[in-house]
Amino acid sequence: MINLLLFPIIIPFFFAIVLLFFKEQVRIQRILTVIGLSASIAFACTLIMKVKQDGIQTLTLGSWPAPFGITMVSDMFSVLLVTSTLVITLFVVIYSFSSIGEERERFFYYPAILFMITGVNGAFTTGDIFNMFVFFEVLLIASYLLIVLGGEKRQLRESIKYILVNVISSAFFVITVAYLYSIVGTLNMADIGQKIADIGQPGIISVIGILMLLVFGIKAGIFPLYFWMPGSYAAPPVPILALFGALLTKVGVYAITRTYTLFFVHDLAFTHTILMVLALLTIVAGCIGALAYFDLKQIIIYNILIAIGVILFGVSQMNEAGMQGAVFYLIHDMLIKGALFLIIGIMIYVTGTSNLREMGGLIKTHASLGWLFLIAAFGLAGIPPLSGFVGKLLIVQGGFEHGQIFGTIVILASSLVVLLSVIRIFIYAFWGEPVPLQPTNRKTYKHMMFPAVILVALSVLYGVGTEWIFPYVSDAAHVLLDPSSYINAVLKE
């Protein structure tokens, strides 16, 4: 089965196509989506085992020899991200059954999600820089459909901005690839890494590095390129927001991590210092936003910024602890953001508003929701033994080892702000005088709670079970820190 590493990409794609034939039968669409995602998860888990045993898996499409064809590469980092993407999507899909509404389900909601997963997994797996552009476009076009789905007035307005920003960033991506191709004459990422090592990263390569940071930074939402994110992400319904918040920004983070560990590693004092400064500024911007807003969605969206800053700070340290922490925290953040968005979705469903000032006293009527939110909030802030703790601890350790005392203190301080921002939600929404609630359906509420509970449980397990998960994370960090193992696996030297 040499094609195993492609299955998490092909299977969602196949099911997305099949769903196009069942536009009106919502039931069949739901069942097929769940089957497709579960099968993909099974294959992804097999792939993790395979990568753990046999090392990096590569496949060059169309039987072309390696630097010429499009190579797909599964190292531990990408396969872990692929698996968490699929798991989160599965639970968000189950959550949407009772919350997204049949109107949207009929209008290609599930196919769009599956096409988007195809793009996300493809971008995680590909080993070819132009192919990464293509997979970015696949996931972006699907996300354009998702963000505008339903066609509310506000959605239309925000999606125009979202699409324009992304079209321009795609044009920049093409330009960057053109520059890179004119200098190294190859598109295979392993080959590019090797060629840049041969020529020793002259100034022009660093310029390309900054251009790449610009392109992927727009997708990831780093400072000062996050300006579009709070507005656009708040427009679509909660399940779509959960997918975007948990997955799409992380694709940008993955791309930055990959290029900044494989290509631009010969002038760390320049490229990685810029990355670190931007990461810290992202954290500060996120903290300000998370404290300033009284809107549930906005608070969590600004928390995405903080997490991205923390992860990229870990990456920019380029030492073992920092990188392990970044990988660990990346997966933790995908799980916990998915869970938090689902929980605030339930809170919005119950109260009928996303404004904190109009909530209160929910703990009297919805106690389980309150405790679930509290666990997720503690996990987000990184209170031991929950999952955010280990990642942040390693990133902080990496920062101190690298001698970045100031930056590390910013990271530690940001944890307090994160805790404050989510506890503020808890205090405003769950304490105080109860306000009149929306008439809600108890059954729908239970159906919405189920995936949220499972995701929170998974993130708790991820934190408690660090002992078992850590070997995988350290494998992933090892490949990131040692580009030659990636290059050798692809070029088979």
Partner: protein, 113 residues
């Protein structure tokens, strides 16, 4: 020749940026179209314009053109075709709902809904 092409691509970018900064939505969309055209031309230039014969097909050709940038451009053109079509449909729907194509009046946040 490369210099000329680079200048042409530059002119396309200039026009694109001018259009993107305007207020009318349809002009902005035309601007993104020009931007991607400029980017495509730029790939062609960056790949090098030397050689005129097609590669692979004929034996004994020494001055052949690099096929890879052309493959990239073809892919990028198809993608920008799809995105432009989508964004035009979206602009039309937005115009129908908002009754304006002035981006200035599409500013705003929750309070303005």
């Amino acid at each position: 020749m490369e210099l000329l092409m680079a200048i042409v691509a530059g002119i396309l970018f200039t026009a694109a940026i001018y259009l993107i900064l305007s207020r009318s939505l349809i002009k902005v969309i035309l601007g993104t179209g020009l931007l991607s055209h400029g980017a495509h031309l730029f790939i062609l230039t960056m790949g090098g314009l030397g050689g005129s014969a097609p590669p692979v097909l004929l034996d004994g050709v020494t001055e052949f053109v690099d096929p890879l940038p052309q493959a990239l451009i073809l892919t990028a053109i198809v993608i920008s075709f799809g995105v432009t079509a989508f964004i035009l449909v979206l602009a039309y729907r937005t115009y129908a709902v908002h009754k304006t194509d002035d981006l200035n009046s599409m500013k705003g946040n929750d309070e303005h809904d």
